[in-house]
C-alpha cells in the first residue's frame, strides 16, 4: 500500500503564500539496522520528492536515511494561477507514487 495525504488549500488569492503539507506512508528503512540474527537489513528509503505546479517545478527535496518513517514534508509556494499541483515521490526498489491536488486561484 502506498498512500499519501496531501493538504493544499482548495482556493487562494493570487500572489498569496500558501502552505502545502505532505505525508506519505513508507518504512524508510535506513540500512543501518540488523536483524536479531545479525544480518543487515538493506536500505529502502524514499530518495526524492518533487512538486510541480502546472508543470513547473516549485519544490524538490532529496531525502537521506536520517529521515524518519512516514515522512512529513511541509513547504510553501506562491499561488500564481489555478491548476494542478502534482507530487511525485521516488525511492529505492523502484518506489514511485504520484498524487495531485487542484487549486483555484482568484
Amino acid at each position: 500500500m502506498a498512500s499519501a495525504l496531501i493538504n493544499v488549500p482548495p482556493r487562494a488569492r493570487r500572489g498569496e503564500i500558501i502552505e502545502i503539507k505532505t505525508l506519505i506512508s513508507h518504512t524508510m528503512e535506513t540500512g543501518f539496522r540488523r536483524t536479531q540474527l545479525g544480518a543487515p537489513i538493506p536500505r529502502d528509503i524514499i530518495r526524492r520528492l518533487v512538486c510541480t505546479y502546472n508543470g513547473a517545478e516549485v519544490f524538490r527535496a532529496e531525502l537521506h536515511p536520517a529521515i524518519s518513517a512516514n515522512p512529513f514534508i511541509v513547504f510553501s509556494t506562491i499561488a500564481v494561477e489555478s491548476g494542478t499541483l502534482e507530487f511525485q515521490w521516488t525511492g529505492d526498489n523502484g518506489f514511485s507514487v504520484t498524487q495531485s491536488a487542484a487549486i483555484l486561484v482568484e
Partner: protein
C-alpha cells in the same frame, strides 16, 4: 451501574477531576501532530482501513461495507465501548478480536494476524469513527468477573522489578521515570502512532512493552490476561474522550 468492586479499587483510582489523557503530558509539537489530520501519521492507516472496508473477501466475496454500510454511521461508538462481551465466546473481546470474529464468522475468511498492517488499518478506521465520544464500557454480571481479573493484574506486582501498574500510573503519574513523564495510562487513543515505533500499534503492543519494561514475561497477543487488562483500563478511563488515532512519543 457498577457492581460492588473491591473498595481498594476506588480508593486507588485517580479522582475523576484529576483524570488526564496521555495527550496532556506530551509536548506542544507532538500535540500539534495529533490535532492535524494531515500531519497525523495514524491517518495513513485510517485511509488504508477505509479502502479495506470495501474490499470483498472470503468465499462469499463479502466486504465489511456489505453488512455495515457507511462506517461513519454504523461504527460510531463501537471502539469506545470495546472490549465488549461476546455472547458466542462467553468472554469480552477487544476491537481487533471483534474484527477477526467478523472475518471468520461472517466473511468466512482467515483471521488477520495481530499487529498486521491490515488488522491495524481496519482497527484504526473503526476507532476513528469514535473520536470525540466518551469511553463507555458496559459492566454487568457477565463482564464483572473479567473486570475484577483485570484489576487483579493491574494491582499485582510483576517482573524482576516487582512493580504493579498502579504504583507508577496511580501513585506516581506526573512524575518522571528515566526522563519521561509518567502518564496515567488511560487508553484513550488506541490504536495509536507511537513515534518510538515509527508506526501504528495496538494497546496490546503497548501493554507488552510495559511488561517487558518491568522485566516481566509479556503475555502473548490475544491472551485473556491482556483483554482483561484492556477491559479494566478502558473502564478506568470511563467518561474520558476517545481520541483515536492518537500520536504518542
Amino acid at each position: 451501574m457498577t457492581l460492588a468492586l473491591a473498595a481498594s479499587a476506588f480508593a486507588a483510582e485517580i479522582p475523576t477531576a484529576d483524570r488526564r489523557s496521555g495527550y496532556d503530558f506530551m509536548s506542544r509539537e507532538t500535540r500539534a501532530m495529533q490535532d492535524d489530520d494531515t500531519a497525523n501519521p495514524g491517518m495513513l492507516w485510517v485511509l488504508e482501513g477505509g479502502a479495506l472496508w470495501t474490499r470483498k473477501t472470503g468465499p462469499a466475496g463479502r466486504a465489511c461495507a456489505d453488512c455495515h454500510g457507511d462506517a461513519r454511521v454504523s461504527m460510531k461508538g463501537v471502539a469506545a465501548r470495546h472490549p465488549a462481551f461476546d455472547g458466542a465466546r462467553g468472554r469480552p473481546i477487544n476491537l481487533e478480536q471483534r474484527i477477526n470474529a467478523c472475518r471468520t464468522d461472517r466473511q468466512g475468511a482467515p483471521p488477520l494476524a495481530y499487529e498486521s498492517r491490515e488488522l491495524l488499518a481496519l482497527a484504526a478506521y473503526v476507532a476513528r469513527q469514535s473520536r470525540g465520544l466518551p469511553i463507555k464500557i458496559a459492566i454487568d454480571q457477565r463482564t464483572q468477573p473479567f473486570l475484577e481479573a483485570g484489576l487483579a493484574i493491574y494491582d499485582r506486582r510483576q517482573g524482576q522489578l516487582n512493580l504493579a501498574c498502579g504504583q507508577c500510573h496511580d501513585a506516581n503519574w506526573g512524575r518522571q521515570l528515566a526522563g519521561n513523564v509518567i502518564p496515567q495510562a488511560h487508553p484513550t487513543g488506541y490504536p495509536l502512532y507511537r513515534l518510538e515505533w515509527q508506526g501504528l500499534g495496538s494497546l496490546q503492543r503497548r501493554l507488552r512493552n510495559c511488561l517487558v519494561g518491568i522485566r516481566a514475561e509479556p503475555y502473548e497477543y490475544g491472551a485473556p490476561e491482556l483483554v482483561q487488562l484492556e477491559l479494566y483500563l478502558m473502564w478506568r478511563a470511563r467518561g474520558m474522550t476517545f481520541e483515536a488515532p492518537a500520536v504518542r512519543p
